[in-house]
């Protein structure tokens, strides 16, 4: 039996784990005690991370659509068809009729190459990925406020906090290792405030629980700032020395009294005042947030509101303080770092400013027209203006909002290529399906939510003819006339390091069990744990006044409930991997809609009863779970299940800045079926 040190494939925590290999098969997984964050611990998904690898459903051979069937072909046939079709579309309608959706489950090297394929090969900036649906507001909001859209401290720093505010994060279920550090801090006496409409496990353990009405975060966060200013709990020295724009914020939050916020958010004014005092008077306060903050039409403003709170109290740049956005995928941070975004190259270098640098490096002309975000691409596809799409390791049919709209868009495409490890609802619509190697079958790096760049290592051979995506993309780059003679993933990282200032010192020989945290600009640089310690990269951090705006949809007579969507501890996203893992699928085998007992009683719904949930977009049938954990007036549906895909219900209303859809607020109704 061999053991191979690698990195977990599930959430953004990026735990170190060992895959156990016997006779060429993954037979188990265990935690890595030397990993600086996970310290020999794993959540249930991590323990079972190796199981899906040899599942019989794995895609093994390239497939091409012939009529209504997908038939096995050779790699040569599949790739030449892909290259020829994409080229033909570009010739007919111009390069911007093509788009690429990369994968937050892929490696940094693969995201970099896909970004290169889109820009240097297909000559379009239409490249995006699932960060658009989870943390685009973090990238936009924190880049503006601090100059860097990433978690400010290492996760372990949370253990040193004396007060922690957790907002819109079901941390124990979605990022259990982060929750572990929060519990450690709590055990040492830190005060814990949890704001979430649902009564999560962490909310049950909090010193103070705030339950805002969905979509009202700015109102109550501004109220915290209001009390902090009124009671002079601000860090004036820090504000004067290191920030700008505080006066405008002070003006704006003047009217945001706890009483006013209570009327909007439903959180009692005295709780808001207490939360403000806990946070404002703490020696080291930290804010943890996740998709509950970002997945709103006010996502970018929500993030800024939290940044304002942290800046006003001087809680940044020190151990135990800071802002902790929790990324959902294990490499959503890396995919952003690698420039799988329509307006940025790797290292967050703006297309408008860094184009020449990349033209020189890649020895080719690059497009200057700004690219489209994921949902904008699909909207154009539906209009017939975007004809060819290359999707790698994503399942928009399940994960994007308003599925029936997504289906129309994908069906309207002239040519769709999907590269994945399992057949998905999206690959069913593809013209070409390319089988990819899983994380256990290739080399590469992932960047965790704490900016830790870590290696994955090949433990077993890929099934059938499946290949690592970096090899597939290199091949396509060749066919598009862009030189791509990479012998290994390590070589790609050398190129990334030469073009990405934050990754400048990242080389495979430096990435042992611990990885490196960026910024790591040079070979002798040890990496950076705490950002913004001495100065912000933009000079002074920026306050920006933000104000409450109502969500796009409100509950009304026709649709009287507010639907929020989310996840379960035991599943990851569209369930492609976790639903093929026996214990995880047994634990939560079926979708259920959570509803408050009072609402359930009024509607005559009992626990376990089949019900139908409807919104203006569509309806799904599933079981009801009656629980006090969901507040009155709200219902909750997880989006892992193809039997009842939650995203049939959600809307495509977008945040104007970051273009994230409002997954967390949809007007809905529910009835017995």
């Amino acid at each position: 039996m061999e053991k191979v040190h690698t990195t977990c494939i599930y959430c953004g925590c990026g735990c170190g784990l060992l895959l156990h290999v016997e006779d060429g098969r993954v037979v188990g997984a265990s935690p890595s005690p030397l990993h600086p964050m996970s310290l020999g611990r794993l959540c249930i998904k991590g323990w079972l991370a190796g199981e899906f690898v040899d599942h019989p459903d794995r895609l093994r051979y390239p497939l091409i659509r012939r009529g209504d069937r997908l038939s096995r072909v050779t790699w040569e046939e599949a790739l030449s068809l892909t290259a020829a079709s994409l080229r033909a579309i570009a010739q007919e309608l111009g390069p911007n009729s093509l788009g690429v959706l990369t994968s937050a489950k892929g490696t940094n090297e693969e995201n970099y190459l896909l970004m290169k394929l889109a820009r240097a090969g297909l000559k379009t900036n239409n490249v995006d990925h699932v960060a658009r649906l989870c943390h685009a507001p973090t990238v936009a909001g924190l880049s503006y406020a601090f100059g860097s859209g990433a978690m400010t401290n290492p996760i372990a720093s949370l253990a040193q906090a004396t007060a922690i505010l957790v907002v819109g994060s079901n941390t124990t279920e979605q990022h259990p290792l982060v929750a572990s550090y929060i519990l450690e801090a709590r055990g040492k006496g830190a005060r814990l405030v949890v704001a979430d409409p649902r009564k999560t496990q962490l909310a049950g353990l909090a010193d103070l629980r705030l339950a805002p009405r969905p979509g009202t975060d700015i109102a109550w966060i501004n109220a915290l700032l209001n009390v902090i200013i009124q009671e002079n709990l601000i860090d004036q020295e820090f504000i004067d020395a290191r920030t700008e724009g505080f006066d405008a914020v002070r003006q704006t939050v003047l009217g945001s009294t706890p009483e006013a916020a209570e009327r909007i958010s439903g959180i009692p004014a005295h709780d808001l005042a207490e939360a403000a005092r806990i946070f404002g008077s703490a020696e080291r306060a930290a804010v943890v947030y996740a998709a509950g903050i970002t997945q709103h039409t006010t996502g970018t403003d929500n993030v800024q509101a939290l940044a304002n709170l942290v800046l006003a109290t001087g809680n940044i740049g020190r151990e135990g303080t800071g802002l902790y956005p929790l990324r959902e995928h294990q490499n959503v941070q890396g995919a952003c770092d690698m420039g799988a975004l329509p307006d940025l190259y790797c290292g967050y270098q703006k297309v408008a400013q860094a184009r020449q640098k990349f033209e020189q490096a890649w020895q080719t002309k690059l497009p200057d027209e700004p690219g489209l975000t994921a949902l904008e691409m699909l909207a154009l596809a539906e209009d017939g203006r975007l004809k060819g799409l290359f999707i790698v390791g994503e399942n928009p049919m399940m994960s994007y909002p308003d599925s029936s709209q997504i289906k129309k868009a994908l069906e309207a495409l002239e040519f769709l290529v999907v590269c994945d490890i399992f057949p998905t609802e999206t690959s069913e619509l593809a013209d070409v399906v390319l089988p990819a190697a899983s994380f256990a079958e290739k080399e590469g790096t992932f960047t965790s939510t704490e900016r830790r760049i870590q290696r994955i290592r090949r433990a077993v051979k890929a099934p059938g003819e499946a290949r690592a995506e970096w090899e597939i993309i290199s091949d396509l780059l060749h066919r598009m006339g862009v030189p791509a003679d990479y012998a290994s993933a390590a070589e790609i990282m050398e190129e990334i390091a030469s073009l990405t200032p934050q990754y400048g010192g990242v080389h495979y020989d430096r990435l042992g069990a611990c990885g490196l945290q960026w910024p790591c600009p040079s070979r002798d640089h040890p990496g950076t744990g705490i950002l913004h310690a001495e100065k912000f990269s933009i000079g002074r951090a920026r306050f920006r006044a933000v104000e409450h705006r109502e969500p796009v949809e409100a509950a009304d007579d026709e649709y009287p409930l507010i639907l929020t969507t989310g996840r379960s501890l035991y599943h990851s996203h569209t369930g492609t991997m976790t639903r093929r893992t026996s214990l995880l699928d047994r634990e939560v085998p079926l979708p259920a809609v959570e509803i408050n007992p009072e609402d359930a009683r009024l509607l005559g719904i009992r626990n376990g009863q089949p019900v139908m949930v409807e919104t203006r977009r569509g309806s799904i049938s599933l079981e009801a779970r009656v629980t006090e954990d969901t507040p009155k007036g709200s219902i909750f549906v997880p989006f892992h299940f193809s039997e009842a895909p939650a995203n049939v219900l959600t809307s495509q209303a977008l945040d104007p800045v970051s273009k994230i859809p409002e997954f967390k607020v949809s007007a809905a109704r529910i009835r017995r079926s």
Binding site: M1, V26, G28, P31, S32, C43, H55, P176, A179, S582
Partner: protein, 328 residues
């Protein structure tokens, strides 16, 4: 009994590895693990986080392959592998003794005993117990008393080797060139080393069987269940935990898999109709402790806890696994 000079250990293992797969603690990216040994430096300082139990009860194993042909099925079983596990510690050996009784009770578990019979166990007694270790408080260790083929104790310039079974004696007899005569002083040295180890354990951890049983009796299981993060880690690292589930993968041909399971998941005890006799996480935690300290002793006569302390190292909820006190 014999003396194995330090420098002869690796040559001996090399010789044995011609005949069978040698498993030993080695470092992978600096992490000590039990894995196939082919000359890598041995990592004998700490007991790896994952016990060598997985060589008898793998996390996932193929029990057999089923092949469908014209409506009837035939079955293929993989042949067992001859193996030698070097460096297993007294606690993990004790756990194997418990598993032998559990899997040996009627009906005997064929797959487990196939592996058990084809494996030679060479144990290493603990001169330096880890910070979470407390085997001595449970009445055995840090030396081996059973189920061992050979046991080694590190003493000055080498190892004192004692055989515990015919397989162990065979190794001594077949390879006399590696071993030297022992003297009374070697035995005294061993006793002294292990005495010191016991003292070290006693001085840093105040844990006793009555104390643990008392804690189990007094624990507020609901409160503990509320902080448990359902990771199952304590069951996955426990050398005595052995629950499994069965899964058939593939139609019409495929494999019957035995996969590790954990009683801390609600699905473990949930009935087909949805009812669950252990409805809360607190119930499930309580069951885990009662299994270790009440049910397994009743069934096997041996404690279901061997004092390796691994569950305290991996608890995601930062619980004190032995005082079972709710922090706040």
């Amino acid at each position: 009994m014999a003396f194995l000079p330090q420098e002869r250990l690796v040559p001996l293992l090399t010789l044995l590895s011609d005949r069978m797969e040698v498993v030993a603690p080695i470092l992978v990216e600096g992490v000590p693990v039990f894995a196939s040994w082919s000359g890598q430096p041995l990592a004998l300082k700490d007991n790896p986080l994952m016990p060598p139990q997985e060589f008898f009860l793998p996390q996932r194993e193929v029990l057999f392959r089923y092949i469908q042909d014209c409506g009837s099925y035939s079955f293929e079983e993989a042949a067992g592998k001859a193996r030698l596990i070097f460096g297993i510690r007294p606690c993990d050996l004790r756990a194997l003794a418990v598993l032998d009784r559990i899997f040996g009770s009627d009906p005997m578990d064929q797959s487990y005993f196939d592996k058990r019979r084809s494996t030679v166990l060479v144990a290493l007694n603990c001169n330096e117990p880890g910070e979470n270790c407390f085997c001595d408080h449970l009445g055995f260790g840090p030396t081996c008393s059973e189920a061992v083929d050979l046991q080694l104790t590190e003493i000055d310039k080498g190892y004192l080797v004692e055989s515990g079974s015919p397989a162990g004696i065979l190794i001594l007899k077949e390879h006399p060139e590696f071993f030297l005569e022992t003297s009374q002083s070697h035995l005294l040295e061993k006793c002294e080393m292990l005495g010191q180890a016991r003292e070290a354990m006693n001085s840093c951890i105040a844990r006793s069987l009555p104390g643990i049983k008392e804690a189990i009796k007094k624990a507020d299981w609901n409160a503990l269940g509320r902080t448990c993060l359902n990771c199952g880690s304590c069951t996955f690292v426990c050398p005595v935990c052995h629950c499994f589930t069965i899964q058939d993968l593939g139609v019409p041909d495929g494999e019957r898999m035995r996969c590790r399971d954990t009683c801390l998941l609600s699905g473990f005890s949930r009935m087909a109709g949805g009812a669950n006799p252990r409805i809360s996480q607190g119930d499930r935690m309580q069951n885990w402790y009662l299994d270790k300290f009440e049910y397994i002793p009743q069934r096997t006569g041996l404690l279901g806890c061997v004092g390796c302390g691994r569950c305290s190292r991996v608890c995601l909820a930062e619980m004190d696994r032995w005082s079972l006190e709710v922090k706040r």
